[in-house]
């Protein structure tokens, strides 16, 4: 093995227990190259799947049962994309009367409702007196299934 720079330094007197051996990926011309070499790919990146617009993506913890019909349960993490424009039927994160809520947006002409995905919750119609704002569109719900 060629001398490492350390062994050349005359003043170095630290005792070394381990010597590192560099591992080369593939520059060795002898032997057979790995047949997988040309097919290597990056591992799956979940950010790619979940985040279309990093600057506009936020995470929210789901706390109520109003959306269980769509498979969004308490404790889930909702991934919100503010870059998307809410359409009729979009699942949205809204601010209603000062509180965050996840609901389905329904529009018919001039009228707007927030609809739950749970028969126990009645739709809420938004009127001019409502303090209402669409915060973002819910793109995903992530659930931990436990060990």
């Amino acid at each position: 093995m060629p001398p490492t720079p350390e062994t050349k330094a005359p003043l170095l007197c630290e005792a070394r227990k381990h010597q590192r051996v560099p591992v080369y990926q593939c520059p060795v011309p002898a032997g057979f190259p790995s047949p997988a070499e040309d097919y290597l790919d990056r591992p799956l990146d979940f950010n790619e799947l979940l985040i279309a617009h990093p600057a506009a993506t936020f995470a929210v913890r789901v706390s109520g049962e109003s959306m269980i019909g769509l498979g969004i349960f308490p404790g889930d993490i909702a991934v919100i994309d503010r870059a998307l424009t809410a359409q009729n039927g979009s699942v949205i994160l809204a601010v209603l009367e000062g509180a965050f809520t996840i609901k389905i947006l329904r529009r018919k002409g001039e009228r707007v409702w927030l609809e739950a995905a749970n028969p126990a919750y009645k739709p809420v119609e938004i009127n001019e007196a409502s303090q209402f704002e669409i915060w973002g569109v819910v793109r995903h719900a992530i659930r931990m299934l436990g060990a």
């Binding site: 600057a55 929210v60 109520g64 503010r82 509180a99 809520t101």
Partner: protein, 421 residues
Amino acid sequence: MSTPIALVDCNNFYASCERVFDPRLRGKPIVVLSNNDGCVIARSNEAKALGIAMGEPWHLCKERIKTRELIVRSSNYTLYGDMSARVMEVLSHFTPLLEVYSIDEAFLGLAGFENRLEGHTQSLRAKTQQWTGIPVSVGIGPTKTLAKVANRTAKKTPACNGLCILMEQEAQTKALAAIELEDIWGIARRTAEKLKALGIRDPLQLRQSDPKVIRRSFGVVLERLVLELRGIPCHGLELAPPPKQSICVSRSFGRPVTTLSELSEALSAYIERAAEKLRRNGLAAGYVTVFLHTNRFRPEEPQYSPSAGLALPVATADTASLLRSGNEILRVLYKPGFRYKKAGIILLDLIPQAETQGALWGSPDTPERQSLLSAIDTINRRHGRRTVQFAASGVQRGWQMRSDQKSPNYTTSWSALIAAG
């Protein structure tokens, strides 16, 4: 026509960040306090309307403003830093020439957009607001100085709709006529007084004055300012941040600190943080300065504000070496009998870690130490600050800053997400 430069500035940035995640704050007066809850450093428009001044000490403001509506927050730089990065990312969609000027301001080169400045910038404003929830104002001029003037005009004039374009001389004259010398970027009150004494009373007179004469009395900086006011660019966009010359970490304590052991704990925590910054930038430090302050706003208490530095034999980014040197200096500086308010560390003589050279009495950080430290940095990045720390910086940390009203780290901590029913 010269190349337009835009200054994009987030409106009441810290207050706006707080509002995005707490809808109850909409329409209410909000103030954000400095480190240690000392004074007001950000105000929503409603708080400005209550007459709360920038920099006002919080304990006075609390006495004076009696409305129950007033909402107060300790500064949450983790949140503001994340939101700032998001805003800058959106701005970068609108130009390849982006200079991040501060946490809430950026200069944008808008060459090529001369014929559709208004449309381009209004869509920039709308997109930033939609994607991040942060409202921004935009000022455009042929120079950075005029872009700053334009931005101020955009903020102060509701009719501007958040955008003011000062590409024509006529518009520039009108905007400059409406402001004071002190309102111009780079003119301190003392400079303004000196200018007034020479008969230059307002921005228009300053623009008309002879740059050569200004240079003789005030130096080249003010000469350039006169040229910039005339629309001649003297300050280009700085697209790559200049290399760091020094790294400073200093904080006020939550309460006065009197003992050497507590001072040493606090200083060690700052050194740890500074060393981490050093490594993040791939640098090593050759010189360490330590300073201490008593509370100068308590003139009745004995005052002592020493500082001292130490040249290291070999530049290092190793927390342990820096802790040793920093604490050595501290032991020299420390005198009992004072109530210390603040301590800090400054790392100087910064050079790239790869270029450090050994000396007769020391060798550069070994690869083993470097990988140990980078492992610590990785753990702390992934699992939160101080998951792994040096024992020197203490566990109880009674000296730590007050931040009693801090909002959760909504965007950077899984345990602090907003909840939605």
